[in-house]
Protein backbone atom coordinates (compact mmCIF):
# COMPACT_ATOMS: atom_id res chain seq x y z
CA UNK A 1 0.00 0.00 0.00
CA UNK A 2 1.50 3.32 -0.96
CA UNK A 3 2.43 5.65 1.83
CA UNK A 4 -0.22 8.26 2.42
CA UNK A 5 2.06 11.08 1.43
CA UNK A 6 4.05 9.29 -1.23
CA UNK A 7 2.05 10.99 -3.95
CA UNK A 8 2.66 14.45 -2.66
CA UNK A 9 5.43 15.19 -5.07
CA UNK A 10 3.32 14.05 -7.99
CA UNK A 11 0.30 15.93 -6.76
CA UNK A 12 2.39 19.04 -6.34
CA UNK A 13 3.66 18.85 -9.86
CA UNK A 14 0.21 18.29 -11.24
CA UNK A 15 -1.30 21.13 -9.30
CA UNK A 16 1.66 23.27 -10.21
CA UNK A 17 1.14 22.70 -13.87
CA UNK A 18 -2.56 23.20 -13.58
CA UNK A 19 -2.69 26.25 -11.37
CA UNK A 20 0.74 27.65 -12.10
CA UNK A 21 1.62 27.30 -8.41
CA UNK A 22 1.01 25.02 -5.53
CA UNK A 23 0.73 26.67 -2.18
CA UNK A 24 0.94 23.16 -0.78
CA UNK A 25 4.64 23.18 -1.52
CA UNK A 26 5.02 26.32 0.55
CA UNK A 27 3.29 24.68 3.49
CA UNK A 28 5.74 21.81 3.16
CA UNK A 29 8.66 24.19 3.01
CA UNK A 30 7.51 25.76 6.26
CA UNK A 31 7.20 22.31 7.85
CA UNK A 32 10.72 21.64 6.71
CA UNK A 33 12.01 24.80 8.33
CA UNK A 34 10.19 23.86 11.53
CA UNK A 35 11.89 20.48 11.50
CA UNK A 36 15.12 22.25 12.36
CA UNK A 37 13.70 23.14 15.75
CA UNK A 38 14.79 19.77 17.08
CA UNK A 39 18.36 19.34 18.20
CA UNK A 40 20.94 19.06 16.76
CA UNK A 41 19.27 21.54 14.40
CA UNK A 42 20.90 20.08 11.35
CA UNK A 43 19.80 17.07 9.33
CA UNK A 44 20.37 15.26 6.08
CA UNK A 45 17.78 14.75 3.36
CA UNK A 46 16.90 11.19 4.39
CA UNK A 47 16.34 12.13 8.00
CA UNK A 48 14.11 15.05 7.07
CA UNK A 49 12.14 12.93 4.63
CA UNK A 50 11.62 10.35 7.34
CA UNK A 51 10.61 12.89 9.96
CA UNK A 52 8.10 14.62 7.73
CA UNK A 53 6.82 11.62 5.80
CA UNK A 54 7.80 13.15 2.48
CA UNK A 55 9.75 11.77 -0.43
CA UNK A 56 13.46 12.46 -0.49
CA UNK A 57 13.04 14.01 -3.90
CA UNK A 58 10.63 16.61 -2.61
CA UNK A 59 12.70 17.34 0.46
CA UNK A 60 15.76 17.77 -1.71
CA UNK A 61 13.99 20.15 -4.05
CA UNK A 62 12.56 22.25 -1.25
CA UNK A 63 15.95 22.42 0.44
CA UNK A 64 17.63 23.47 -2.79
CA UNK A 65 15.05 26.17 -3.30
CA UNK A 66 15.46 27.45 0.24
CA UNK A 67 19.22 27.24 -0.05
CA UNK A 68 19.20 29.40 -3.15
CA UNK A 69 17.42 32.04 -1.08
CA UNK A 70 19.80 31.69 1.85
CA UNK A 71 17.14 30.28 4.17
CA UNK A 72 19.02 27.05 4.70
CA UNK A 73 22.66 26.23 4.33
CA UNK A 74 24.57 23.06 3.63
CA UNK A 75 26.87 21.59 6.23
CA UNK A 76 29.61 19.13 5.38
CA UNK A 77 29.20 16.80 8.33
CA UNK A 78 31.13 13.54 8.83
CA UNK A 79 27.90 11.61 8.42
CA UNK A 80 27.25 13.24 5.07
CA UNK A 81 25.73 16.38 3.63
CA UNK A 82 23.35 18.02 6.07
CA UNK A 83 21.27 21.16 6.16
CA UNK A 84 20.61 23.79 8.78
CA UNK A 85 18.71 27.05 8.99
CA UNK A 86 20.70 29.89 7.46
CA UNK A 87 21.19 33.40 8.70
CA UNK A 88 18.86 35.01 6.17
CA UNK A 89 15.86 34.12 8.26
CA UNK A 90 17.61 35.45 11.33
CA UNK A 91 18.30 38.74 9.58
CA UNK A 92 14.70 38.98 8.47
CA UNK A 93 13.45 38.22 11.91
CA UNK A 94 14.89 41.46 13.20
CA UNK A 95 11.93 43.10 11.56
CA UNK A 96 9.44 40.61 12.88
CA UNK A 97 6.96 41.27 15.62
CA UNK A 98 7.05 39.12 18.67
CA UNK A 99 4.15 37.05 19.74
CA UNK A 100 3.15 39.14 22.70
CA UNK A 101 3.32 42.41 20.83
CA UNK A 102 1.01 40.96 18.23
CA UNK A 103 -1.52 39.84 20.77
CA UNK A 104 -1.47 42.93 22.97
CA UNK A 105 -1.76 45.36 20.12
CA UNK A 106 -4.49 43.41 18.40
CA UNK A 107 -6.50 42.92 21.56
CA UNK A 108 -6.49 46.48 22.83
CA UNK A 109 -9.38 47.88 20.77
CA UNK A 110 -11.55 44.88 21.56
CA UNK A 111 -10.91 45.18 25.27
CA UNK A 112 -11.68 48.89 25.14
CA UNK A 113 -15.02 48.10 23.54
CA UNK A 114 -15.80 45.34 25.95
CA UNK A 115 -15.11 47.51 28.98
CA UNK A 116 -17.17 50.28 27.49
CA UNK A 117 -20.12 47.92 26.98
CA UNK A 118 -19.91 46.05 30.30
CA UNK A 119 -18.37 48.70 32.55
CA UNK A 120 -16.10 46.03 34.00
CA UNK A 121 -12.39 45.38 33.83
CA UNK A 122 -11.46 43.28 30.80
CA UNK A 123 -8.19 41.53 30.13
CA UNK A 124 -6.21 39.27 27.84
CA UNK A 125 -4.11 36.36 29.07
CA UNK A 126 -1.69 34.00 27.32
CA UNK A 127 0.28 31.00 28.49
CA UNK A 128 3.38 32.16 30.34
CA UNK A 129 6.82 30.77 29.57
CA UNK A 130 7.03 27.50 31.37
CA UNK A 131 3.52 26.53 30.40
CA UNK A 132 1.77 26.04 33.72
CA UNK A 133 0.54 29.57 34.34
CA UNK A 134 -1.09 32.37 32.47
CA UNK A 135 0.21 35.88 32.16
CA UNK A 136 -1.80 39.02 31.59
CA UNK A 137 -0.76 40.73 28.39
CA UNK A 138 -3.23 43.56 28.28
CA UNK A 139 -6.09 44.96 30.28
CA UNK A 140 -8.58 47.79 30.37
CA UNK A 141 -9.83 48.84 33.76
CA UNK A 142 -13.37 49.54 34.70
CA UNK A 143 -14.05 53.15 35.57
CA UNK A 144 -16.31 52.31 38.45
CA UNK A 145 -15.10 53.01 41.95
CA UNK A 146 -15.22 49.36 42.95
CA UNK A 147 -13.40 47.24 40.41
CA UNK A 148 -11.21 44.19 40.08
CA UNK A 149 -7.52 44.53 39.84
CA UNK A 150 -5.66 42.93 36.99
CA UNK A 151 -2.24 44.20 35.93
CA UNK A 152 -0.26 43.63 32.79
CA UNK A 153 2.48 41.15 33.56
CA UNK A 154 0.50 39.63 36.39
CA UNK A 155 0.69 35.85 36.65
CA UNK A 156 -2.56 33.99 36.97
CA UNK A 157 -3.38 30.33 37.47
CA UNK A 158 -4.70 28.39 34.51
CA UNK A 159 -7.01 26.25 36.61
CA UNK A 160 -9.15 29.05 38.01
CA UNK A 161 -10.76 32.18 36.68
CA UNK A 162 -12.35 33.36 33.45
CA UNK A 163 -9.95 34.02 30.60
CA UNK A 164 -7.24 31.64 31.80
CA UNK A 165 -9.52 28.65 32.20
CA UNK A 166 -11.10 29.24 28.81
CA UNK A 167 -7.60 29.32 27.33
CA UNK A 168 -6.64 26.11 29.10
CA UNK A 169 -9.65 24.28 27.68
CA UNK A 170 -8.22 24.63 24.19
CA UNK A 171 -4.67 23.61 24.91
CA UNK A 172 -3.33 20.21 23.97
CA UNK A 173 -4.50 17.53 26.34
CA UNK A 174 -1.03 16.96 27.72
CA UNK A 175 -0.84 20.54 28.90
CA UNK A 176 -4.29 20.40 30.43
CA UNK A 177 -3.39 17.30 32.39
CA UNK A 178 -0.11 18.79 33.53
CA UNK A 179 -1.88 21.85 34.89
CA UNK A 180 -4.75 19.95 36.50
CA UNK A 181 -2.52 17.51 38.31
CA UNK A 182 0.09 20.04 39.32
CA UNK A 183 0.67 20.41 43.06
CA UNK A 184 -0.04 24.11 42.85
CA UNK A 185 -3.73 23.48 42.26
CA UNK A 186 -5.38 24.58 45.48
CA UNK A 187 -8.26 26.60 46.90
CA UNK A 188 -7.72 30.24 46.10
CA UNK A 189 -11.19 31.44 46.98
CA UNK A 190 -14.61 30.16 47.98
CA UNK A 191 -15.45 28.87 44.49
CA UNK A 192 -12.16 27.34 43.31
CA UNK A 193 -12.55 23.88 41.78
CA UNK A 194 -9.53 21.72 42.52
CA UNK A 195 -10.42 18.06 41.98
CA UNK A 196 -8.93 16.87 38.66
CA UNK A 197 -12.17 15.29 37.52
CA UNK A 198 -14.12 18.44 38.29
CA UNK A 199 -11.62 20.47 36.33
CA UNK A 200 -11.79 18.06 33.40
CA UNK A 201 -15.53 18.44 33.41
CA UNK A 202 -15.24 22.23 33.49
CA UNK A 203 -12.88 22.22 30.55
CA UNK A 204 -15.16 19.95 28.53
CA UNK A 205 -17.99 22.31 29.31
CA UNK A 206 -16.02 25.28 28.09
CA UNK A 207 -15.43 23.52 24.80
CA UNK A 208 -19.13 22.82 24.53
CA UNK A 209 -20.44 26.26 25.50
CA UNK A 210 -17.58 28.38 24.19
CA UNK A 211 -17.15 30.38 27.41
CA UNK A 212 -16.63 30.00 31.14
CA UNK A 213 -18.23 31.63 34.14
CA UNK A 214 -16.02 31.67 37.19
CA UNK A 215 -17.77 32.40 40.44
CA UNK A 216 -15.18 33.43 43.00
CA UNK A 217 -12.62 30.99 41.68
CA UNK A 218 -9.55 33.17 41.75
CA UNK A 219 -10.15 35.69 44.50
CA UNK A 220 -12.80 36.22 47.13
CA UNK A 221 -15.33 38.76 46.05
CA UNK A 222 -14.45 38.48 42.36
CA UNK A 223 -16.46 36.88 39.56
CA UNK A 224 -15.33 36.52 35.99
CA UNK A 225 -16.17 35.25 32.52
CA UNK A 226 -13.79 34.13 29.84
CA UNK A 227 -13.56 33.02 26.22
CA UNK A 228 -10.70 31.71 24.11
CA UNK A 229 -8.95 33.42 21.21
CA UNK A 230 -7.55 31.44 18.28
CA UNK A 231 -4.60 32.19 16.06
CA UNK A 232 -4.35 31.72 12.32
CA UNK A 233 -3.69 28.02 12.67
CA UNK A 234 -6.68 27.39 14.95
CA UNK A 235 -4.68 27.00 18.14
CA UNK A 236 -5.95 28.53 21.37
CA UNK A 237 -3.52 31.36 21.82
CA UNK A 238 -5.12 33.63 24.42
CA UNK A 239 -8.08 34.12 26.70
CA UNK A 240 -10.27 37.20 26.94
CA UNK A 241 -11.91 37.83 30.26
CA UNK A 242 -14.28 40.14 32.07
CA UNK A 243 -13.91 40.45 35.79
CA UNK A 244 -15.90 42.38 38.36
CA UNK A 245 -16.95 42.43 42.01
CA UNK A 246 -19.49 39.88 43.16
CA UNK A 247 -22.08 42.50 44.26
CA UNK A 248 -22.37 43.68 40.65
CA UNK A 249 -21.85 40.52 38.68
CA UNK A 250 -23.26 37.63 40.67
CA UNK A 251 -26.95 38.24 40.16
CA UNK A 252 -26.35 38.77 36.47
CA UNK A 253 -24.19 35.71 36.03
CA UNK A 254 -26.55 33.25 37.67
CA UNK A 255 -29.51 34.31 35.54
CA UNK A 256 -29.59 33.07 31.90
CA UNK A 257 -31.26 36.25 30.61
CA UNK A 258 -29.19 38.68 32.61
CA UNK A 259 -25.93 37.06 31.64
CA UNK A 260 -26.55 37.34 27.88
CA UNK A 261 -25.55 41.01 27.66
CA UNK A 262 -22.21 39.94 29.16
CA UNK A 263 -21.61 36.72 27.26
CA UNK A 264 -22.70 38.07 23.89
CA UNK A 265 -20.15 40.89 23.74
CA UNK A 266 -17.47 38.64 25.25
CA UNK A 267 -17.89 36.06 22.53
CA UNK A 268 -18.10 38.75 19.88
CA UNK A 269 -14.79 40.15 21.08
CA UNK A 270 -13.12 36.74 21.19
CA UNK A 271 -14.36 35.86 17.74
CA UNK A 272 -13.41 39.18 16.23
CA UNK A 273 -9.97 39.10 17.77
CA UNK A 274 -9.46 35.57 16.46
CA UNK A 275 -10.37 36.76 13.01
CA UNK A 276 -8.01 39.66 13.38
CA UNK A 277 -5.25 37.21 14.16
CA UNK A 278 -6.01 35.32 10.99
CA UNK A 279 -8.34 32.59 12.21
CA UNK A 280 -11.08 32.19 9.63
CA UNK A 281 -12.74 28.97 10.73
CA UNK A 282 -15.78 28.28 12.87
CA UNK A 283 -15.72 29.54 16.44
CA UNK A 284 -14.79 27.82 18.63
CA UNK A 285 -12.20 25.90 16.63
CA UNK A 286 -12.26 22.13 16.77
CA UNK A 287 -10.38 20.57 19.64
CA UNK A 288 -8.07 18.78 19.63
CA UNK A 289 -6.63 20.63 16.64
CA UNK A 290 -6.63 18.47 13.57
CA UNK A 291 -2.93 18.13 13.01
CA UNK A 292 -1.66 16.21 10.03
CA UNK A 293 0.46 13.66 11.78
CA UNK A 294 2.97 12.27 9.37
CA UNK A 295 3.27 8.81 10.81
CA UNK A 296 3.89 7.23 7.43
CA UNK A 297 6.27 4.38 7.99
CA UNK A 298 8.97 4.27 5.34
CA UNK A 299 8.58 1.24 3.12
CA UNK A 300 11.43 -1.21 2.79
CA UNK A 301 12.44 0.49 -0.42
CA UNK A 302 13.32 3.74 1.31
CA UNK A 303 17.10 3.85 1.75
Amino acid sequence: MPRKLADTSGADKHAARAAGYSVESVARAIDLLAAFERPPHQFGVSELARQLGLTKNLVFRVLRTLEAQGFVLRVDAPQGMQYAIGLRLYDLSRHAVDRRQVLSAAARPYLDDLTRITSETTYLVAIADGGLEAICLERVESELGLRNRVDVGMRLPLFAGGGAKALLAFQPEAIQEAVITDERVRMLAAGTRTAPDDLRQDLARIRRDGYWIALEEYADGADALGAVVFDASGAGIAGVGITGPVPRLRTRLVSPELREPLIGPLLDAARALSRQLGYLGAYPAPWPMSVVVDTAVPSGAAA
Binding site: Y21, S25, V26, A27, A29, E37, V75, D76, M81, Q276
Partner: protein, 286 residues
Protein backbone atom coordinates in the same frame (compact mmCIF):
# COMPACT_ATOMS: atom_id res chain seq x y z
CA UNK B 1 5.41 37.69 -16.72
CA UNK B 2 5.39 33.94 -16.69
CA UNK B 3 4.31 32.31 -13.48
CA UNK B 4 4.95 28.76 -14.45
CA UNK B 5 7.07 26.60 -12.23
CA UNK B 6 8.22 24.47 -15.11
CA UNK B 7 11.57 25.36 -16.44
CA UNK B 8 14.51 23.63 -18.08
CA UNK B 9 15.44 20.25 -16.58
CA UNK B 10 18.48 21.22 -14.45
CA UNK B 11 16.44 23.58 -12.27
CA UNK B 12 15.36 21.64 -9.22
CA UNK B 13 13.81 24.53 -7.41
CA UNK B 14 10.14 24.90 -6.68
CA UNK B 15 8.61 28.07 -8.03
CA UNK B 16 6.04 28.64 -5.33
CA UNK B 17 8.61 28.19 -2.58
CA UNK B 18 10.91 30.67 -4.27
CA UNK B 19 8.07 33.14 -4.51
CA UNK B 20 7.22 32.65 -0.84
CA UNK B 21 10.84 33.22 0.12
CA UNK B 22 10.93 36.38 -1.99
CA UNK B 23 7.74 37.48 -0.29
CA UNK B 24 9.31 37.08 3.13
CA UNK B 25 12.46 38.82 1.97
CA UNK B 26 10.40 41.79 0.79
CA UNK B 27 9.84 42.73 4.41
CA UNK B 28 13.50 43.51 4.85
CA UNK B 29 12.98 46.88 3.28
CA UNK B 30 11.43 49.78 5.12
CA UNK B 31 8.71 50.33 6.17
CA UNK B 32 8.71 46.52 6.83
CA UNK B 33 4.96 46.43 6.56
CA UNK B 34 3.03 46.32 3.31
CA UNK B 35 -0.38 45.87 1.82
CA UNK B 36 -1.28 43.03 -0.47
CA UNK B 37 -1.17 45.30 -3.51
CA UNK B 38 2.27 46.65 -2.57
CA UNK B 39 3.67 43.15 -2.32
CA UNK B 40 2.03 41.90 -5.49
CA UNK B 41 3.35 44.87 -7.46
CA UNK B 42 6.79 44.71 -5.97
CA UNK B 43 7.19 41.04 -6.80
CA UNK B 44 5.36 41.06 -10.11
CA UNK B 45 2.74 38.54 -9.04
CA UNK B 46 -1.03 38.51 -9.35
CA UNK B 47 -3.11 39.59 -6.37
CA UNK B 48 -4.62 36.14 -6.19
CA UNK B 49 -1.34 34.33 -6.00
CA UNK B 50 0.11 36.82 -3.57
CA UNK B 51 -2.90 36.43 -1.35
CA UNK B 52 -2.66 32.64 -1.36
CA UNK B 53 1.01 32.72 -0.49
CA UNK B 54 0.45 35.27 2.24
CA UNK B 55 -2.37 33.19 3.61
CA UNK B 56 -0.19 30.11 3.76
CA UNK B 57 2.50 32.08 5.51
CA UNK B 58 -0.02 33.66 7.84
CA UNK B 59 -1.42 30.32 8.91
CA UNK B 60 1.96 29.21 10.10
CA UNK B 61 2.56 32.49 11.91
CA UNK B 62 5.40 33.54 9.63
CA UNK B 63 3.44 36.54 8.54
CA UNK B 64 1.01 38.56 10.56
CA UNK B 65 -1.75 40.75 9.27
CA UNK B 66 -3.04 43.87 10.94
CA UNK B 67 -6.02 45.35 9.10
CA UNK B 68 -4.77 45.82 5.55
CA UNK B 69 -1.10 45.57 6.36
CA UNK B 70 1.17 42.55 6.49
CA UNK B 71 4.32 42.20 8.51
CA UNK B 72 6.67 39.45 9.58
CA UNK B 73 5.14 37.30 12.28
CA UNK B 74 6.41 35.71 15.46
CA UNK B 75 7.21 32.39 13.85
CA UNK B 76 9.82 34.08 11.67
CA UNK B 77 11.65 35.17 14.83
CA UNK B 78 11.39 31.75 16.37
CA UNK B 79 12.74 30.01 13.29
CA UNK B 80 15.27 32.75 12.67
CA UNK B 81 16.77 32.19 16.08
CA UNK B 82 17.49 28.62 15.11
CA UNK B 83 20.22 29.88 12.84
CA UNK B 84 22.23 30.76 15.90
CA UNK B 85 21.01 27.81 17.94
CA UNK B 86 23.36 25.41 16.18
CA UNK B 87 26.26 27.44 17.35
CA UNK B 88 24.86 27.91 20.81
CA UNK B 89 26.96 25.20 22.50
CA UNK B 90 29.96 27.10 21.25
CA UNK B 91 28.62 30.43 22.47
CA UNK B 92 27.74 28.95 25.85
CA UNK B 93 31.14 27.38 26.29
CA UNK B 94 32.67 30.70 25.42
CA UNK B 95 30.58 33.08 27.50
CA UNK B 96 32.31 32.67 30.87
CA UNK B 97 35.70 32.69 29.18
CA UNK B 98 34.81 35.95 27.47
CA UNK B 99 33.69 37.48 30.76
CA UNK B 100 37.01 36.60 32.39
CA UNK B 101 38.97 37.88 29.44
CA UNK B 102 37.13 41.17 29.43
CA UNK B 103 37.91 41.63 33.11
CA UNK B 104 41.53 40.75 32.50
CA UNK B 105 42.07 42.99 29.48
CA UNK B 106 39.45 45.67 30.00
CA UNK B 107 38.39 45.50 26.35
CA UNK B 108 35.49 44.13 24.34
CA UNK B 109 36.02 40.47 23.50
CA UNK B 110 34.08 38.25 21.15
CA UNK B 111 33.74 34.88 19.50
CA UNK B 112 33.07 34.33 15.83
CA UNK B 113 32.41 31.20 13.81
CA UNK B 114 31.81 30.19 10.22
CA UNK B 115 28.28 30.05 8.95
CA UNK B 116 28.25 29.01 5.32
CA UNK B 117 30.84 31.23 3.74
CA UNK B 118 30.49 34.01 6.24
CA UNK B 119 31.85 34.72 9.69
CA UNK B 120 29.27 35.46 12.33
CA UNK B 121 29.72 36.97 15.74
CA UNK B 122 28.22 34.40 18.09
CA UNK B 123 29.04 35.97 21.45
CA UNK B 124 30.45 39.20 22.76
CA UNK B 125 31.19 40.83 26.11
CA UNK B 126 31.62 44.57 26.04
CA UNK B 127 34.26 46.62 27.75
CA UNK B 128 33.16 48.88 30.61
CA UNK B 129 34.99 51.84 29.17
CA UNK B 130 32.97 54.64 27.69
CA UNK B 131 34.81 54.33 24.38
CA UNK B 132 34.79 50.67 23.43
CA UNK B 133 34.41 48.17 20.61
CA UNK B 134 30.83 47.13 19.94
CA UNK B 135 29.70 44.05 18.08
CA UNK B 136 26.33 42.77 17.05
CA UNK B 137 25.76 39.15 18.06
CA UNK B 138 24.36 37.48 14.98
CA UNK B 139 25.97 40.10 12.78
CA UNK B 140 28.35 39.20 9.99
CA UNK B 141 32.04 39.91 10.10
CA UNK B 142 34.39 40.18 7.15
CA UNK B 143 36.86 37.36 6.78
CA UNK B 144 39.67 39.34 5.23
CA UNK B 145 39.92 42.02 7.89
CA UNK B 146 39.72 42.24 11.65
CA UNK B 147 40.89 40.26 14.66
CA UNK B 148 39.08 37.04 15.45
CA UNK B 149 37.57 36.92 11.99
CA UNK B 150 40.85 36.93 10.03
CA UNK B 151 41.95 34.06 12.19
CA UNK B 152 39.10 32.01 10.77
CA UNK B 153 40.24 32.75 7.24
CA UNK B 154 43.75 31.64 8.12
CA UNK B 155 42.55 28.20 9.13
CA UNK B 156 40.00 27.59 6.40
CA UNK B 157 40.69 24.93 3.81
CA UNK B 158 42.61 26.15 0.74
CA UNK B 159 39.47 25.91 -1.39
CA UNK B 160 37.44 28.01 1.01
CA UNK B 161 40.25 30.48 1.44
CA UNK B 162 40.53 30.83 -2.31
CA UNK B 163 36.82 31.36 -2.62
CA UNK B 164 37.03 34.28 -0.21
CA UNK B 165 40.31 35.80 -1.35
CA UNK B 166 39.79 35.34 -5.06
CA UNK B 167 36.19 36.44 -4.96
CA UNK B 168 35.52 38.11 -8.31
CA UNK B 169 33.66 40.85 -6.52
CA UNK B 170 36.85 41.76 -4.70
CA UNK B 171 37.46 42.35 -1.03
CA UNK B 172 35.48 45.07 0.62
CA UNK B 173 37.41 48.12 1.73
CA UNK B 174 36.48 49.58 5.11
CA UNK B 175 39.44 51.84 5.83
CA UNK B 176 42.73 52.76 4.14
CA UNK B 177 44.25 49.90 6.16
CA UNK B 178 41.89 47.14 5.06
CA UNK B 179 43.84 44.27 3.43
CA UNK B 180 42.75 44.02 -0.19
CA UNK B 181 45.63 42.56 -2.16
CA UNK B 182 45.31 38.79 -2.58
CA UNK B 183 49.03 38.00 -2.49
CA UNK B 184 49.62 40.22 0.51
CA UNK B 185 46.66 38.71 2.31
CA UNK B 186 47.90 35.18 1.67
CA UNK B 187 51.31 36.10 3.04
CA UNK B 188 49.73 37.50 6.15
CA UNK B 189 47.59 34.41 6.65
CA UNK B 190 50.72 32.26 6.56
CA UNK B 191 52.23 34.45 9.27
CA UNK B 192 49.07 34.18 11.34
CA UNK B 193 49.20 30.41 11.24
CA UNK B 194 52.84 30.46 12.19
CA UNK B 195 52.53 33.00 15.01
CA UNK B 196 49.18 31.75 16.23
CA UNK B 197 47.43 35.10 16.30
CA UNK B 198 46.24 37.84 13.98
CA UNK B 199 46.38 41.59 14.47
CA UNK B 200 44.34 44.26 12.81
CA UNK B 201 45.31 47.91 13.00
CA UNK B 202 42.34 50.01 12.00
CA UNK B 203 41.39 47.51 9.31
CA UNK B 204 37.63 47.60 9.80
CA UNK B 205 36.94 50.71 11.83
CA UNK B 206 39.20 53.77 11.96
CA UNK B 207 40.61 54.17 15.41
CA UNK B 208 39.99 50.55 16.40
CA UNK B 209 42.61 47.83 16.70
CA UNK B 210 41.89 44.17 17.10
CA UNK B 211 43.58 40.89 17.76
CA UNK B 212 42.38 37.32 17.32
CA UNK B 213 43.40 33.75 18.10
CA UNK B 214 41.97 30.44 16.96
CA UNK B 215 39.93 28.29 19.32
CA UNK B 216 40.69 24.64 18.75
CA UNK B 217 37.90 22.15 19.25
CA UNK B 218 38.10 18.71 20.82
CA UNK B 219 39.49 17.13 17.67
CA UNK B 220 42.08 19.78 16.98
CA UNK B 221 40.34 21.69 14.21
CA UNK B 222 39.53 25.36 14.56
CA UNK B 223 35.95 25.85 15.71
CA UNK B 224 35.92 29.57 16.40
CA UNK B 225 37.89 32.79 16.40
CA UNK B 226 38.39 34.55 19.73
CA UNK B 227 38.89 38.27 19.29
CA UNK B 228 39.44 41.49 21.16
CA UNK B 229 38.71 44.94 19.82
CA UNK B 230 39.12 48.41 21.26
CA UNK B 231 40.41 51.93 20.64
CA UNK B 232 43.90 51.91 19.13
CA UNK B 233 45.38 54.11 21.83
CA UNK B 234 44.55 51.52 24.48
CA UNK B 235 45.05 48.37 22.44
CA UNK B 236 48.00 49.01 20.14
CA UNK B 237 50.69 49.06 22.85
CA UNK B 238 49.57 45.61 23.92
CA UNK B 239 48.95 44.12 20.50
CA UNK B 240 52.02 41.88 20.50
CA UNK B 241 52.43 41.64 24.22
CA UNK B 242 50.68 40.65 26.45
CA UNK B 243 47.38 40.37 24.55
CA UNK B 244 48.33 37.35 22.39
CA UNK B 245 49.29 35.34 25.48
CA UNK B 246 46.14 36.39 27.31
CA UNK B 247 43.93 35.46 24.39
CA UNK B 248 45.70 32.19 23.79
CA UNK B 249 45.26 31.22 27.42
CA UNK B 250 41.57 32.07 27.16
CA UNK B 251 41.24 29.99 23.97
CA UNK B 252 42.84 27.06 25.77
CA UNK B 253 40.37 27.46 28.64
CA UNK B 254 37.58 27.45 26.14
CA UNK B 255 38.90 24.33 24.50
CA UNK B 256 38.94 22.68 27.88
CA UNK B 257 35.31 23.62 28.44
CA UNK B 258 34.42 22.19 25.07
CA UNK B 259 36.24 18.97 25.86
CA UNK B 260 34.41 18.64 29.14
CA UNK B 261 31.04 19.87 27.96
CA UNK B 262 28.20 17.76 26.59
CA UNK B 263 28.45 19.24 23.12
CA UNK B 264 32.15 18.56 22.95
CA UNK B 265 32.48 15.70 20.55
CA UNK B 266 30.04 16.69 17.88
CA UNK B 267 31.03 20.31 17.96
CA UNK B 268 33.76 20.38 15.37
CA UNK B 269 31.64 19.20 12.57
CA UNK B 270 28.79 21.41 13.68
CA UNK B 271 30.71 24.59 14.01
CA UNK B 272 33.35 24.43 11.42
CA UNK B 273 32.67 21.75 8.89
CA UNK B 274 30.52 24.08 6.91
CA UNK B 275 30.90 23.75 3.20
CA UNK B 276 31.25 26.82 1.15
CA UNK B 277 28.15 27.56 -0.84
CA UNK B 278 28.65 29.76 -3.81
CA UNK B 279 25.37 30.63 -5.51
CA UNK B 280 27.26 31.42 -8.71
CA UNK B 281 28.61 27.91 -9.00
CA UNK B 282 26.64 25.09 -10.55
CA UNK B 283 27.07 22.42 -7.93
CA UNK B 284 25.11 19.24 -8.25
CA UNK B 285 23.60 17.70 -5.15
CA UNK B 286 26.00 15.35 -3.37
Amino acid sequence: MSERTRSAAPDYTIGAVTRAAELLAAFERPPHTFRLSDLADRLGMTRNLTFRLLRTLEMSGMIYRRDDYYLLGPRTSELGRLALRRLQPLAEAGQPVLEELKTETGETVYLCAMEGHEAVCIAAVESDFFVRGVLDVGGRLPLHAGGGNKVLLAWLSPEMQAAVIDNPRGLRIYTPHTPHDAAELRARLAIIRREGYSVAMEEVVLGADAIGVPVFGPDGTVVAGLGLVGPADRVRPRLHHPLPDQLRAAAARMRQRLLEGPAGRGLTALAFGVSYYDPTQQKGGT
